[in-house]
Amino acid sequence: MEQATEKKSRFGMLIDLDRCTGCGACMISCAVENNIAPAEQKATTRTGVTWIRVSAMSNGAEFPATDTVYVPMPCQQCEKDTPCVAVCPQNAVDVDPQTGIVGQVPQRCLGCRYCMTACPYHARYFDWWDPRWPEGMEQTLNPDVAPRMRGVAEKCNFCHGRLHAARTKAAAEGRTDIAPADYVPACVEACPAHAIVFGDLNDAESEVARGAAHPHSFRFLVKLGTESKVYYRSERAWVRDNADAFRLA
């Protein structure tokens, strides 16, 4: 049997916090791409489902010295001892060794939410409600992504559907490796400020790998040792200095 081998990738992101204006385009394009249902009337910031969430981070200084960056936070795709993978009792979370993407299998998820308590980035969301769209709007769902049922956990998977599409395209063109331009997650494509760079961290020449090595690049909660693959970058020293832990008010 002929063996088709795809090179091993470690997909990652680099988000430039100085460019991000907190417009929210990533959050909406993500919801549309991944068929995340609109909120029910009672849903709040704490029960909503947003695979990528943009939060404001303040330098804590008083007005007018105050400064803010907006931090878009998708699943950080942790590489080492991935916190959510180890805890899942029924193997509904896994890391694809071929891509480094942390995947969630909603059909197998028990809905125990242990993974959510394990995630330090609060990047996992629970379906507290049945997914519901206003009448007729289900015609606008993305045909490539199945909506999740109530009672399971879900999270960002770097638009896995798009990876499949890129692989299909590569196969049709007789390649085993996908073309980087063919696989771009929805939020990266959407960002009007071009603040998000996406690519293979294993490819030293890729923009994301070079950017991640920049001295102004960093990762949140890096001392927890989760080796996340979503890097951030800011010229603002206070952002980098505060990335390791929560701050006291």
């Binding site: 549309v32 606008t140 494509e189």
Partner: protein, 715 residues
């Protein structure tokens, strides 16, 4: 045979054990799990052929080009398309879900009328014919001398062929007024044209070539002009030598990205503009050409010389050195001084608008590359046209019947402003809109028009564009039987009210006619959506060919206008000393706050955006649902408030129960109050009240409503 109890038990036990060796229990167990994956009430994914269509977004005036991925012909995903011509290549948050709009739960599914004017008045379904007939009568009555007012149309998307038809319709009424929203995006340009003593061509901002942009509160990086252009030019602080200076009380999204930020005390913008002019005049940095073009230059010079930077800086609460540097920066190279605010905050006060326009004249920005440039109107509408007035600038109680077109997309305004402009007894208001949006609460008649994606819609040049343009939003979905074409409705109104209106067929034929005129003019270039090189309009055989290109997502863009025009201006002509005196610091009573409404472009109520926008408004704190107030933590402390408290906000106009959030970027003493959608599923009646914050605002004599004194108390 006798059956004993023991036999029964044995049979049951044996049967049970035996069953375990059949697949039945295991299959059932498995099926329960499979059932949880296939609940009947889970939405089914669309199935069918995938295709791609180009179109334009109509949710806000930016009109961004987009590519729609369709399944079975229904758009299922949108992407921004870099458009070489109009530079609009990205979608905003709202734009990414614009294909949800045809299925919006707040869609209006037939004509409606209110039974009366009082609070108990109810919205009831009516027939289209009865509506047209009643309106015809009302329009005739409004046009009569006894009504005390006139007929007016508020066009929320000016610049379309339909806008032209509106103007023609109005010319049939004595004193008919063509109104535009008090949008602030072209406020400075409108002020400049109003100051001109001679004929002044239409104007646009040449941001691409400007070296310095001084913004008086314009949210350049938060939904303004063409977002792609703004992000490209200003989102990177280290970008090549281009400098954005933001004058704004609070550290907004734009202020934090600007090269420098002047945290001006609210209400002192006009004084600050005079202080800047003072530096420019005293240091002789003004344009000598401008000196000739400003006809009242000596008076203007004498006035600004009274405003030395130090006292001005002290009054406005900014660093005097920064003020001087800012003045030098705008005088030293092509620059743009622009005033604005996010859509709910409305226009700046008239004095500020005039003085900001004056700064542009002083440094010679008007008619200069990299400044404020001339442009032409779309072919067929050139030359002296109809007067266009912003709603807040028409005389009070001068409108007896008002037709409001479209949903509030670019901007909104308080209902109290509208009430003030209507005749004393309230007049008649008709709203043409696909949705029960914020303004439907003040309308007497609601007429359902087609939603985006269901009809051909014209996308004219965005406000402030440097040249006229023409593109189309494509109908990918069949129209609903209950929605009407605005142009057809206008024609039946003209018949019912006895006004002569040339019949051009349907709304679509009106647009095709415009394509014909463009072809006939042989002006401009047509750019395809795929990013290929533009082709001159003259190379197209006829209007149909241009129409075809635009129907495929292309854009026609006009040539640059003749730059030789030298209009002359009177800066202080309309300004009185009393106006200037009012521009002194706003008096803030002890224990009170200054309420400033804010909003996000295109997201002015739950009806103007997809329900999935709850991701940013309801399911995160990135944007605020209507009725949220932001306070500086220190101010909050002063009033005994903390995050997530409920508080009553009171002004002399009313009371609102608000959700409190502390935000260190808000200037102490300010109360930023959000105008925007309410949580999904909020009843329509409450949704209509989403203008609640605006009802608290005091309308000033010049029609602006930006600052209102308010108090806040925990409930």
């Amino acid at each position: 045979m006798k059956l004993t109890r023991r036999d029964v038990l044995r049979f049951a036990g044996g049967g049970l054990i035996g069953t375990l060796f059949t697949p039945i229990p295991w299959k059932l167990l498995d099926d329960t799990a499979i059932w949880t994956q296939n609940w009947a009430w889970l939405p089914k994914l669309p199935r069918g052929p995938i295709s791609t269509r180009f179109s334009h977004c109509t949710l806000c005036p930016a009109g961004c080009t987009l590519r729609a991925r369709c399944c079975n012909g229904v758009p299922v995903g949108l992407t921004g398309v870099p458009n070489l011509a109009t530079k609009n290549g990205v979608l905003c948050a709202a734009g990414f879900a614009s294909h949800h709009m045809p299925y919006h739960p707040l869609r209006l599914n037939g004509p409606r009328a209110y039974t009366g004017k009082d609070d108990g008045s109810m919205l009831i379904p009516v027939t289209m014919d009865a509506t047209v007939e009643a309106l015809g009568r009302k329009l005739r009555a409004a046009a009569s001398a006894t009504s005390g007012g006139s007929v007016a149309i508020l066009d929320q998307r000016p610049g379309r062929a339909l806008s032209r038809a509106y103007q023609e319709f109005l010319s049939g009424f004595q004193g008919g007024q063509y109104l535009v929203s008090p949008s602030s995006e072209d406020g400075t340009l409108r002020a400049l044209r109003n100051l001109s003593a001679t004929q002044c061509p239409p104007l646009g901002y040449d941001f691409e070539n400007a070296r310095t942009v001084l913004s008086f509160g314009a949210p350049l990086l938060d939904g303004w002009g063409v977002p792609e252009q703004m992000y490209r030019l200003f989102s990177d602080r280290s970008a090549s030598g281009r400098k954005l200076i933001q004058i704004e009380s609070s550290k907004s999204r734009t202020a934090r990205a600007a090269a420098s930020w002047l945290p001006v005390a609210p209400g002192t913008e006009a004084v600050l503009a005079l202080g800047l002019a003072n530096v420019i005049v005293r240091e002789g940095l003004y344009s000598k050409d401008a000196e000739r073009r400003i006809k009242d230059f000596p008076r203007y010079r004498d006035l600004v010389l009274r405003y030395h930077p130090h006292p001005v800086a002290a009054l406005a609460g900014v660093d005097p050195d920064v003020l001087v540097d800012t003045a030098r920066a705008i005088a030293s190279s092509p620059s743009i001084v622009v005033s604005g605010a996010d859509p709910a905050a409305g226009p700046a006060d008239q004095t500020t608008e005039i003085l900001v326009a004056g700064l542009n004249l002083l440094v010679g920005n008007v008619g200069r590359k990299g400044g404020i440039v001339y442009r032409r109107d779309v072919p067929g509408t050139d030359g002296p046209g109809y007067a266009e007035t912003a709603l807040h600038q028409v005389p009070d109680h001068s409108i007896a019947a008002l037709i409001m077109d479209g949903m509030e997309s670019g901007a909104t305004f308080p209902h109290s402003l509208l009430k003030r402009k209507l005749v004393e007894d309230g007049g008649t208001v008709v709203l043409l809109s696909p949705y029960l949006s914020g303004h439907s609460a003040v309308a007497d008649y609601l007429v359902p028009t087609a939603s985006p994606w269901e009809t051909w819609e014209e996308v004219p040049a965005p406000p402030g564009a440097t040249s006229a343009s023409f593109s189309l939003a494509v109908p990918l979905l069949p129209g609903r039987e209950y929605s009407v074409d605005a142009y057809t409705f206008l024609k039946s109104l003209s018949k019912a009210s006895g006004v002569n209106l040339e019949d051009h067929g349907s709304g679509e034929s009106l647009l095709r006619r415009r394509a014909e005129m463009i072809a006939a003019s042989k002006r401009g270039m047509v750019y395809a959506a795929d990013g290929s090189e533009g082709k001159p309009a003259s190379s197209f055989a006829n209007g149909e060919a241009i129409w075809q290109s635009c129907a495929d997502g292309g854009t026609w863009v006009d040539d640059a206008a003749d730059a030789s025009s030298k209009p002359e201006f009177n800066i202080l002509g309309q300004l009185t000393d009393a106006d200037l005196a009012r521009s002194a610091r706003m008096q803030q009573a002890a224990g009170s706050l200054t309420l400033v409404p804010f909003s996000t472009r295109a997201a002015l109520s739950g009806a103007t955006i997809s329900p999935v926008m709850s991701k940013v408004f309801q399911e995160s704190d990135l944007r605020m649902n209507g009725g949220t107030v932001l306070l500086n933590p220190k101010t909050a402390l002063l009033f005994g408030l903390k995050n997530e408290d409920r508080a009553s906000v009171r002004t002399k106009n009313g009371l609102l129960i608000a959700r409190v959030l502390c935000d260190p970027t808000v200037k102490p003493g300010l109360l930023h109050a959000a105008v925007g959608p309410l949580p999904n599923g909020t009843p329509v009646a409450d949704e209509e009240q989403s203008a609640g914050v605006l009802s608290l605002c005091t309308i000033q004599d010049d029609g602006s409503w930006r600052f209102t004194e308010a108090t806040i108390e925990k409930v």
